[in-house]
Structure formats: C-alpha cells, structure tokens
C-alpha cells in the first residue's frame, strides 16, 4: 500500500485558527431564536431574532445595509437586510414580507423557533464617511427595511450629522412600515416626510410622487454647499431609485455620494452560486449597496 496517496482531511486539518475558520465558515450558521414577532402590515412582520450563544451574539458585528442569510432547516434559506441598529450586535431585527416558500412559512412560526443565521454579508452604507454632512434617506415601499439600520445608526450618533431628512413613499397608508417609530425619529430632530400614491380613509398627508417631496427639499437646500455637504441613501424599486438619483444628479449631487441597495436572487451570499450577478458583478459581494456611479456602469442594473 506504499503508493496509497495520503488523504488530506480538510475538515480536520490543523491549520492556523484563522484559515480553518474561513473554510468552515462556509456552511456555518449561528443558531438563533425568534424571540418575538410583530405583525406590521397585512404582509410584513418584524422578527426579533437573537443569536443563542452569548459570545457569538456579542462577536456578531455588522454595518448598516448589510444582510444575513436566514435559514429554516428543511424549509429554505434566503437573504434579508438587517433592519436593526449595529450597536445591538447579534440581537437582530428582520422585517420580512411573505412572498414565497420560506417567507410564507415564517409567517406561521411562533416565538421560540430556532433558525440559522449566517453573515453578515455584502457592502454597507458608508455612514461613517458621512459624518459632518447632511443626509437624505429616501425610501420607497419595502426599501424602508434596509434603510432602518442606517436611520438608527444616524440617530444614535445624531450630533455627528447635520440636517437629516427621511423621505418615505408607499403605495397606500396601510402599507407604511414602522409607524410606531415616526414620533421617536422626529424627536431626534429629523425631518420626516411621508407621501403615498393613493390615499385611504383618514389619511391627511400628501398624495403623489416621492420626487415631489424631494424637489421641495432640493429647492430649499440649493445653496452652493448642497453638493459638498450632502449624501443620499436611496432604497426602493429600481424605477424609483433611478428617478430619485437622476433628480439628485440634476441638483449637482455627485453620483459617488448617492447609495442604493440592489436586490437579486441569492442562494449563497458568498460569491459562489452566481444567481445574484448583474452583468458579471456579484451583488452579494460588491453589493447590495452600490454608489450610483457603479450602478450606471453595471450592465442590466436598471
């Protein structure tokens, strides 16, 4: 048997801790518990999910705009933006809309259900580079979900930023998410403007397009400094962020100072399955957060 080639057990090799971790990270998921479920609208629920192991929970750090892969054993796995504040580490909040297999199953699970969490993955909104600037946070529809993490992060460091505007558009008032937090956001000296496409009974706010509100904001802020001291974070359907970003471009805001989050089908989050590719860019690695200049350079992005 002298010519028997030696089997290299990748699973057991005694490599330096770091290298070993990176290999085993691939299928590693933190076990986590759904500690609470809040229905937000008819189709969306907020899930509070806590990583079970205290050390893993503490060591779980992320930046606003990143996502996790959430797994329900035997049911499915998918990418979800982290909707909670980074200072809460592995005490996560995900806001999930029931649309398919796993998300509809999730709709029925109870508190205490154990799930798997891996990540965080992807790029983030560079709020750390926006310190000292005015920030425009613009969301359309479910886009408020990935936006909530940078909002919370900005609130927690409110004194470091200048004027902060949140402009949020939804189809109908009943589809607005996180209504219970609007007052709190306003208390942090944030201008919150909400607009809907279609009014419903009791709605007193404006009806129309998000770009109308944005126009007012731009007109009001159109001083020489606007382009130097403003950054924008825009989340929503492609058609919406294209209109918004084009409008901001006309207002002379540099494209590198506008950030959008793109959504694509994902099966790994790790640059391996190719399902998320735009042109040939991995959304899970180079995104989901891109600056608008990069988006314009991606074939088939919009």
């Amino acid at each position: 048997m002298e010519n028997k080639l030696e089997f290299i057990d990748l699973g057991a090799t005694d490599q330096p801790e770091q290298a070993r971790q990176s290999v085993h990270d691939f299928e590693y998921s933190h076990k986590a518990e759904i500690t609470n479920v809040y229905p937000l609208t008819a189709t969306e629920k907020l899930y509070q999910i806590q990583i079970c192991d205290p050390d893993e929970r503490h060591n779980f750090t992320f930046h606003p705009g990143q996502f996790v892969m959430l797994e329900l054993p035997g049911i499915g796995e998918g990418p979800f933006s982290i909707s909670s504040s980074p200072i809460r580490h592995g005490d996560l909040e995900l806001c999930i809309r029931g649309v398919g297999n796993m998300t509809n199953f999730l709709n029925r699970v109870e508190r205490g259900t154990k799930v798997g969490i891996s990540g965080p993955f992807g790029t983030h909104f560079p709020v750390e580079n926006m310190i000292g600037e005015d920030i425009l946070l613009i969301a359309g529809g479910l886009g408020i979900v990935p936006l909530r993490s940078p909002i919370l992060s900005v609130l927690e460091n409110r004194s470091r930023y200048g004027q902060v505007d949140i402009i949020y558009g939804a189809r109908k008032p009943s589809e607005l998410l996180f209504g219970y937090q609007y007052e709190m956001w306003k208390q942090f000296d944030i201008n919150l403007e909400i607009i809907v496409d279609e009014a419903e009974q009791g709605w007193q706010g404006p009806v129309g397009l998000i770009t109308e509100i944005l126009k007012k904001r731009i007109d009001q802020g159109r001083d020489a400094d606007f382009r130097h001291k403003t950054s924008a974070i825009v989340c929503g359907p492609p058609i919406m962020f294209k209109f918004v970003c084009d409008q901001l471009t006309h207002a002379n805001l540099p494209m590198e100072k506008m950030f959008v989050s793109l959504e694509r089908r994902m099966h790994c989050g790790r640059g391996k399955c190719c399902r998320c590719n735009i042109g040939s860019t991995y959304t899970c690695l180079k995104g989901p957060v891109f600056d608008y200049w990069s988006v314009l350079n991606l074939k088939e992005a919009i």
Binding site: I8, G11, F26, N101, C268, N277, S280, E300
Partner: protein, 349 residues
C-alpha cells in the same frame, strides 16, 4: 520544471502503481449514429479501460469535483431544535488520469473562484486537495479552440503531465509525489533530443487546432455590442435547456433546495448545479424575472465567461474545450457566437 522520459510500455506500470487509489479516466462509452466514439470520464477498473487517445469527452470530469447534486448539510430535527451536520463529501485521494490541458486549466480557473477567493468553498476544496492529476497530451478535434483561450498548454495544477512522443512519454514532473512515482518505473531525465521531440509533437498538435476565437479587445466589444441584434438571433435559437452549462468544465453556478424527510426527523439542504440559461435563474419571489428572455440569459453566459471573469482575473472563464457547442441541440457554438458579435464591428461601415 523537471522533465523525464519513459518508454511508452511503462505507462501500464505507472497506472498499476497508482491503482491502490481510485483512478478516474477517459473511457469509451459507446458510439453515436455516425459511429463516432463517445467518451466520458469514469472510474476505471484496469489500465485497459483507459482510452487515452480520446478526442474530447462529452462531459467534463466535473462530477468528480462539482457533483451535480450534493448535500450542503443535513439536519436532525427535534421538537423545538435542530442540529446541523456538514460533510464535505471527500473520503480518499483520487487519481485523475488522462486530463487534457483544457480540463486542467479549467480546474485552475475554478480554484480561483472556489478556493482562492473570499469564502472558499470547502466542498470543492476537499475534493481538489485530494486529487492526483496525470495530464495527457491531446489530439485536437474540429471543435477545439483552446489555443485562442490560452488553454492549449498547462503549467500548473497537475502532478504529472505526459506528452506522447513516438515510442515514449515526455513527462513534466510537477510534484514530489509524481517524482517518486517515476523513480519506480524505467525513466530517465530528458535529453536535448527529447526536448526537440517534445517541441515537434507540440507543433504538430497545434497544426490540428482549426477553430478560433478572436479575443482581442473582447471585453470592450462585448460592452459595445450589449444591445446588438445578434444576441436576439442567438436567443431565438436557444432552447434554454442548460445543456451547455451541464457539460462545461468551468460552469459552477448552482441553486439550493431544502427538504424534510417524511419522518419529520431529518432534513437536508441540497446544492444543485444550475445553468444561467434556465428560465428562472434570475427570477425572484413574487415572479419578477431579471432575465426573462432567452437572449438575455444567453448573453449573460457569454458576459460572465468572456467579460466579467476577465475583468476579475485577467483570463477568460472558457477554456475552449468545445463541449458546449458539441452538445447544443441548436448548434450554438462559442466561436460562432463571438464572431457574430464581433461582426458588429463592420455594421458601421
């Protein structure tokens, strides 16, 4: 590199030395209607099984390092909890005997994405780390365009590479394991005469490569021709069957499915190799499809291979093995698609 030479009849002895390990190699599987031989990579049970004079196999050797179905993990479920078990699916060292340069180059390309990138894939890594590769020189078929893709020769990623000379083998020795192995058969260090014979053999081989792809400025041309009508024409022919990705040695994309066993006590997460030509490749829940038409998907496949990968690694993700063209029921071949897209150059004249 160390070059050694051994008499052709010693090859069987080399095989026997390695035969304590599983040996995968090209074998004759049958004949098509026109009586052409059909080859595939398979586990061999003796030296006689090896068909080293094969032109091209129908499938690549992918099933031995990127199986079409593979469990990413299994779960045991209890009432309120679960445990996850991960098995990388490699248990012993395997010999791949008789790979052509294109297929070894394909492995080297896969290594870049699957092992040398962020989040290395241990399922591939475990198999790749346990491969002993004996490459073998090829006799090009009419559909081979490896030379255009700089994959007609290989400089790394193997243990031993054999080039057939008249009555001997010229061996490029690329690992200590391979060196020790050659010590056990009748072999000697290559002489000037052998070097000459080797170069002659290579130039004779090159003469047989007729298919070509012009890759100059291809990344830019693909960008310029993103909206060219030819894509639509190819898309109309394409059946969106995914066969091209299936037989390709460098296609690695996949989907994931989870299922629970009937006893409700076990579940599995399975990885299934996929193809970007299949209709739901980029479809998301709720029904929106980012590439609904077949031409957008076909175009994407070419983009990934001939543009995106080049941007990332300065080489293409196609080795010019010609398998996709041979297997395609719609007769879509890489040289023709690229030539027609480049043909757009002349439209403006």
């Amino acid at each position: 590199m160390i070059f050694k030479v051994f008499p052709a009849e010693e090859l069987a002895a080399l095989y026997e030395l390695l035969a304590v390990n599983p040996i995968v190699g090209p074998v004759l599987k049958g004949r098509d209607k026109k009586d052409n031989a059909l080859y595939d990579f398979a586990l061999t049970s003796g030296f006689a099984d090896l068909a080293l004079d094969y032109g091209q196999t129908m499938h690549s050797a992918k099933k031995f390092f990127l199986p079409h179905r593979e469990d990413l993990c299994t779960f045991t479920l209890s009432d309120h909890d679960w445990d996850k078990h991960v098995d990388y699916g490699a248990y012993q060292h395997t010999v791949l005997f008789g790979l052509h340069p294109c297929d070894i180059n394909a492995l080297n390309k896969l290594d870049k994405v699957l092992m040398e990138s962020v989040y290395p894939n241990p399922f591939y890594g475990a198999k790749r780390s346990n491969m002993f590769i004996v490459g073998h020189s090829c006799s090009p078929t009419p559909s081979c365009f490896c030379r255009s893709m700089a994959s007609d020769s290989v400089i790394r990623g193997f243990d031993l590479f054999l080039t057939r000379l008249d009555d001997s083998y010229f061996a490029e020795v690329n690992s200590a394991k391979a060196y020790h192995l050659l010590e056990k058969i009748k072999s000697y260090h290559a002489t000037d005469r052998d070097h000459k014979l080797f170069r002659h053999a290579v130039s004779e081989k090159n003469k047989k490569i007729t298919a070509q792809v012009d890759t100059s400025d291809l990344t830019k041309i693909l960008d310029m021709e993103f909206h060219a009508d030819v894509w639509q024409e190819w898309g109309d022919k394409c059946l969106s069957c995914g066969t091209c990705a299936n037989v390709c040695p460098t296609c690695y994309c996949y989907g994931v499915e989870e299922e629970v066993d009937l006893d409700l006590r076990h579940a599995r997460k399975e990885k299934l190799l996929y193809s970007c030509n299949l209709v739901d490749f980029a479809e998301v829940a709720g029904g929106h499809n980012f590439r609904p038409e077949s031409h957008t998907r076909l175009k994407y496949r070419y983009y990934h291979k001939h543009r995106g990968f080049v941007e990332a690694y300065e080489e293409s993700l196609c080795v010019g093995c010609g398998r996709c063209g041979n297997a395609c029921l719609a007769d879509i071949t890489v040289p023709e698609v690229i030539a027609s897209v480049r043909g757009g150059d002349n439209n403006g004249k």
